[in-house]
Symmetry: C2
């Protein structure tokens, strides 16, 4: 018996979507319909596709780093017009009325933000479908303006990896001259290095891998600290004003807490997992702080995008076709990407 393996192409995708009955709502009065050009590949996509967090609803259409052009606007939409370059990040809705929403922190909406995919669809019922798609319809409040001067493909990861690292740097007021550590050089970490540098900080890339040193410096790190080198770690003790911790899995925290100055904070943005035990004394002696941070609000995301326009900052990416997604997922898991995969959505359309 012989088996013929056929490449999965656009027609197959269309047939699958039809069969799965994945519906997009028509463009309502407050909506923007977007022709998706590029979509970034986030580690969360993989967690959701694989149901790692035990909350996936199938069929899953992942993707919350969406770039595209406005195709159609509803009658109440004044901020956008057909053809505008726009983006959509991790959220497509929230209550807009709770104290978090009123403080422009929709990611902490007390009724729960609506995720761009795997969220509760308020319009059609069921759940939301993300950006691995030809188009999407999104409420105008959750559509962002992408500066026309930056690279469209590289802008996609700003919508998740970008805001996830920008928001803590701003919330904890990182400023010119601060000594800022960025732990982990992946999709998040490489954006953290770029932003901290652009904000005028002295940036130290903290990594286990000496072979990442050169890249880190190209991205904007002023120093590289190899966390496995005890002597070097000792030299940097009690010296950091702020540490952005992008490690995506549970890990030891004591060695990093030791790096913080008195009253300084290490913010976790990656490890949605149980962390290893840390020593209370590490926080008590030095009044040190650990915190978490989750993406950022819509207003702050627009501020970040505008900043990227002014400073010409985008993500370093590898562009792939839709058919290569499974291979890309494997490489994300192996940390084998510099530094974010972005899907060329033309490959789904043609």
């Amino acid at each position: 018996m012989s088996t013929t393996i056929k490449a999965y192409g656009a027609d197959d995708a269309k047939a699958d979507l039809k069969q799965m009955n994945i519906e997009r709502r028509p463009c309502g009065d407050d909506d923007v319909k977007i022709d998706i050009t590029y979509c970034g590949v986030c580690h969360s996509d993989i967690h959701t596709v694989r149901n790692d967090w035990k909350n996936s609803q199938y069929p899953v259409v992942p993707g919350h780093e969406i770039i595209g052009r406005v195709l159609e606007i509803g009658k109440n939409v004044t901020k956008f017009k057909e053809g505008d370059l726009v983006g959509v990040g991790c959220m497509v809705d929230s209550c807009q009325e709770c104290s978090s929403c009123k403080e422009d922190l929709e990611q902490f909406c007390e009724e729960g933000m609506v995720g761009t995919y795997n969220g509760k669809d308020k319009h059609l019922g069921g759940h939301t479908f993300g950006g691995y798609s030809t188009s999407v319809v999104v409420n105008k409040e959750f559509v962002l303006t992408i500066p026309e001067n930056i690279d469209e493909k590289g802008a996609a990861p700003l919508l998740c990896a970008g805001i996830t690292t920008w928001s803590p740097l701003r919330t904890w007021n990182v400023k010119k001259g601060d000594k800022v550590g960025v732990i982990g050089l992946g999709g998040l970490g490489h954006m953290g290095v770029k932003f901290a540098n652009a904000l005028g900080a002295h940036v130290v890339m903290i990594t286990t891998s000496p072979d990442k040193a050169k890249d880190a410096k190209t991205l904007g790190a002023h120093e590289v600290l190899i966390s496995k080198n005890g002597e070097d770690m000792k030299k940097h003790m009690n010296s950091f004003d702020f540490i952005l911790n992008t490690i995506p899995v549970g890990h030891e925290m004591d060695p990093y807490i030791a790096l913080l100055k008195r009253d300084a904070t290490m913010v976790l943005v990656g490890a949605v997992e149980p962390l290893k035990p840390f020593h209370g004394g590490g926080l008590i002696v030095g009044r040190k702080r650990i915190a978490g941070s989750l993406i950022g609000g819509i207003k702050e995301t627009q501020e970040m995008l505008d900043f990227c326009g002014e400073h010409n900052i985008v993500s370093d990416i590898e562009l792939i076709d839709m058919k290569d997604i499974n291979e890309a997922y494997g490489r994300v898991i192996d940390s084998d990407v510099k530094y974010r995969f972005v899907i060329d959505m033309a490959s789904l359309k043609n």
Copy 2:
């Protein structure tokens, strides 16, 4: 064979001290010599006596909650006069020149603060001896004024338990109407409840022991939350503006992190130990924070004492004689004290 057990008395203590060659320096130009009237018993005393932290230097004379009257002053001392009611807390010296000292945070002195006992004695060499003693000589900058209107015995624990709980409440700006949790009703916790109440907060005592409820309310708690009761814990989720965590040993943190509001902080003041692993997601979703806090600076300690004078706040204590110290230690370890032992130093003198 029969053994005669003889009570350990003042004469024995004197003989022991003489034999151990425990020396106090003469009162120098910048010094205050204090006749000790009362000294509180802190859990740290026990850790040091028993060398739990592997840094004890023997002979140990513990005690850093010292109350007494000024016996003698050096020629540069203008703030105190003979007979003044004064106190000494956990520190008797620091460099006075580093950025922490200049910010009135001597507890974080970059050269290391000098502990009231088991610290490095800058004057005589060797190590410092604490307040389980008839007198002590201390640099004027580390001597505090005790308001004459408050109970002298009950004031002793303010010098450690008091400032340890006061400082985080002030650093994190606890104010009228805030919902404040105090975890653990011991020497620290009972002061936390009193202070948070006096600052106008809505105080919730969080404890494993339902039988502590009545006492907690007498001390100033408006509500008692039994942490073993999952349903009640659920009702208080995401509702606290601030949590003061006085648990003195490693413990689970997730259930308490869940109680915090967005952007709220839980401060550890007791657990100088490895904590149990917590889930990164608990901090990330809600941008929550964990921090540590260590006693407080001299200026802040004086502010706390003045506040206690204005609000007539002291610690609830059990007064003991010096000879009962070993029994008291046993009871501290068993959490069987309401809420702090204080030694009547007359029992050492007579």
